[in-house]
């Protein structure tokens, strides 16, 4: 079984930086060899002239999707090893539309822009400078735009949204991709008649392999659903079961601080103290909720991602967590030691500590302080 850098909380360690660099090199080679060092080619899809972007992207998405499904089914990797982006409808709709407009205007996107720059394209350099500027612009406007993220739905899978099984959705997605491939080849043949793959044995075999691989998901899924004692089929547990089991019922201050420092993936932090106490100080990114409102307000987060409760000490958080658990929330955890423990363990300056602190621990404390005590 694999433990990812993300799971281990070491995404920002030198080993992960090296792995990222190597994966980045493969990423860059794949993009360049696809011809994405050219803005003309990238923009081609928007004029139905050159459909390479669609072919490459959909092939990659389908391949990785199938690979992850099988890796999970064979028990190589579990859900808690993977970082899932949240769904925020407003942000992704508006962001997607603006991004697409920027894409067709410039002929670049951030990843291909880096490859374009490496290919000597001056327009790619100008694009990247613009994108740095656009990020800075967002930073300035973030306080105004932040309310968009109140609509954060947590981790939402499209098959849940459509109310179908994962296998069925993944299979349909694969079929749509294959149809798009054939449509693209046909379009290119009609538009330019240049060497294309319409009707070739290659495309037929390629399409068949993808569809057969996607059909295999039904077999895996059927097996999963068969009622059997878990010990008899350890590798066939469903994804959601493993995810739920992976949620600890409590978490220590160091663990929480490290998780948040590494980007706070799918973590919803809830402060259950009084609004006055919350105003005075709270852990970064926390929202203030009263115990009686928890079940209702947290409904969108039910069994999605990790909800973390804290109070001043351990007890109220633990109690609120148990109440939610009884109401079917299997993804709630509480902070042991509460906020007081968190302040003592993580944020107390090294100079004020009575126990000796190793240089490593001191560096960690300073990193936490820098992260949690700004602003």
């Amino acid at each position: 079984m694999i433990e990812t850098f993300f799971k281990a909380g070491t995404l920002n360690s030198p080993a992960a930086f090296l792995a990222s660099l190597l994966i980045g090199i493969a990423f860059g080679v794949a993009l360049e060899k696809a011809g994405f060092g050219s803005s003309r080619r990238l923009a081609g899809i928007f004029y139905f002239r050159d459909m390479t972007v669609l072919k490459v992207m959909f092939t990659a998405v389908v391949f990785a999707m199938l690979g992850i499904c099988y890796a999970r089914a064979f028990g190589w990797v579990t859900l808690d090893n993977v970082y899932f982006l949240h769904t925020v409808y407003g942000a992704q709709i508006v962001g997607g539309l603006i991004f697409g407009a920027g894409f067709v205007m410039s002929g670049w996107c951030p990843g291909t822009g880096a490859v374009g720059l490496a290919s000597g394209k001056i327009d790619a350099l100008v694009f990247l400078l613009g994108a740095v500027g656009g990020s800075m612009l967002y930073n300035e406007l973030h306080p105004i735009l932040a309310p968009v993220f109140d609509g954060d739905r947590g981790v939402v899978f499209a098959y849940e949204t459509f109310g179908v099984s994962e296998a069925r959705f993944a299979f349909s997605f694969t079929v749509i991709a294959v149809l798009c491939f054939w449509g693209s080849e046909y379009l290119e043949k009609k538009r330019q008649g240049r060497g294309n793959l319409w009707g070739t044995p290659f495309l037929a075999v390629f399409s068949a392999v993808l569809i057969v691989a996607a059909s295999g998901l039904f077999a895996l899924e059927g097996y999963e659903e068969r009622p059997a004692p878990r010990s008899a089929m350890p590798v066939k547990e469903t994804m959601s079961l493993q995810a739920v089991q992976a949620v600890p019922d409590h978490m220590g201050p160091r663990d929480l601080a490290d998780r948040m420092l590494s980007g706070a993936p799918f973590l919803k932090l809830v402060d259950i103290r009084t609004p006055e106490e919350f105003e005075q100080f709270h852990i970064r990114s926390a929202v203030n909720l009263q115990v009686e409102d928890l079940a209702q307000v947290l409904l969108p987060h039910k069994n999605k991602g990790l909800v973390m409760l804290y109070s001043n000490g351990t007890d109220r958080g633990a109690q609120a967590r148990d109440d939610l658990f009884r109401q079917g929330f299997k993804n709630v955890s509480f902070l042991t030691g509460g906020l007081e423990g968190f302040l003592n363990v993580c944020l107390k300056p090294v100079s004020l500590r009575t126990a000796p602190v190793t240089p490593d621990a001191a560096a960690k404390i300073n990193a936490w302080r820098a992260f949690f005590l700004v602003s």
Binding site: T87, A91, G95, G102, P110, I122, Y138, V156
Partner: protein, 177 residues
């Protein structure tokens, strides 16, 4: 077709079959998920470069900020920064080996340089801004998030193409030959 095309560009080697290139990209994405536990990403690194620049100019203000501030005083010590450095290196090696490296402004023969660069700049600003709003770009959302079948990422993918097709007609002149 393209002005300034160097002799190398004319003799450039053939590109990969797009489906093979897609498999290569998909295998890279799968490796990222199995090794790092995250997908691929690019815009995050660009934003971190922005945060780094702002830190040089106004450290206190940047650290106090709600967005760049959360990345601390060393925003470049981040895995995606290394990933994009890799993308550049991989692209550079591949472009040289494929004899596709050529310093030029890519545009239609009838399009003025300034117009093309202005469009590249404004498109860059929009893409950089939108990638922060949507928490990802073509790599992080459209590619990586879609492979996990995340609703928000698939919506981003659809809206990205929607926004592109809606705008395409207005900027088509830059590719006129």
């Amino acid at each position: 077709m393209e002005e300034n095309a160097t002799p190398q560009a004319k003799t450039s080697k053939a590109l990969l079959n797009p489906y093979v290139a897609g498999l290569l990209l998909g295998a890279t994405l799968l490796a990222a998920y199995l090794i790092l536990g995250t997908g691929l990403g690019a815009s995050g690194a660009i934003a971190r470069l922005g945060a780094h620049l702002e830190l040089q100019l106004a450290p206190a203000r940047t650290l106090a900020g709600d967005y760049f501030g959360r990345w601390g005083d060393q925003p470049l010590k981040y895995y995606l920064v290394f990933m994009v450095a890799g993308v550049f290196l991989g692209g550079l090696v591949s472009a040289f080996l494929g004899r596709r490296f050529a310093v030029k402004i890519e545009r239609g023969a009838k399009c003025a340089r300034q117009k093309r660069l202005l469009l590249a700049l404004s498109g860059g600003i929009m893409a950089g801004f939108a990638a922060r709003l949507a928490n990802g770009c073509t790599s992080g959302q459209a590619l990586s998030g879609s492979a996990l079948l995340l609703t928000g990422s698939l919506i981003f993918l659809i809206c990205m193409f929607g926004g592109g097709y809606l705008t395409a007609w207005f900027v088509r002149g830059q590719w006129d030959d």
